[in-house]
Amino acid sequence: MAVRVQREDFDLGREVAALTAGRTDVGAIVTFTGTVRGGTGAGEIAEMTLEHYPGMTEVEIERVEREALARWPLAASLVVHRYGTLAPGDNIVLVVTASAHRQAAFEAAEFLMDYLKTRAPFWKKETGPGREGSWVDAREADEAALTRWK
């Protein structure tokens, strides 16, 4: 169980290798990588800035990770979330879950993402070519996704 909030990029292959090195109790590893979409037409994005609440971010993600560990038999888990200014195609977030069987790994990864989206104090601002930055609205679908874990 580990959480990192960082400006730097992450390397998917290296993170998974480090998390599962020497583990023979793991049979299933699920990763989720969230990336900046470029948008199209009037919604085209030049860059995205992620603001966060230092201190609270780590606490909230750790809380969600502990909850995932209480619900599923995970051998290992990792959450890395970036902040700062990103370009289309750049990585934003990485979730890795490892378990003996695939169902636990899949469900825990989805659970972590659903809670990250609605609980971790990050805010996205998008800037397009020739338009001012605008704060991304929260999606109702993200809040609705939580109901399946109640």
Binding site: G34, L50, E51, H52, Y53, G55, M56, V59, E60, H81, I92, V93, M113, L116, K117, T118, R119, A120, P121, F122, W123, K124, K125, W135, V136, D137, A138, R139, D142
Partner: protein, 91 residues
């Protein structure tokens, strides 16, 4: 030192709340009769145009006390740090 009957609280603002306020944080002496987060928002809105602007739609503003999410009815007694921000959009 906070005036008698009040407590010093650090207030933090994020995203468009921060932009509307024109600052990321400040320390305020909050009167003891301001009991909940909702009370605090009403009290702040009377402090000046930037507050009125930032908190004009309190229903879309979220709050955290000492780095934990809280509802508007949460009591603020003892809080060291209260943050206001829009619904989060990370991940």
């Amino acid at each position: 030192m906070a005036p008698a009957g009040s407590s010093n609280v650090k207030l933090l603002y994020f995203a468009w709340v921060r932009e509307a306020m024109g600052r990321a944080e400040e320390e305020l002496a909050v009167p003891a009769d301001v009991a909940t987060v909702a009370d605090l928002v009403l009290w702040l809105k009377r402090r000046g145009p930037e507050y009125e602007h930032a908190f004009r739609r309190p229903e879309v503003i979220r709050a955290a006390i000492d780095k934990a999410h809280v509802k508007p009815d949460a009591r603020i007694a003892g809080a060291r740090e209260i943050a206001f921000f829009p619904p989060v959009t990370g991940g």
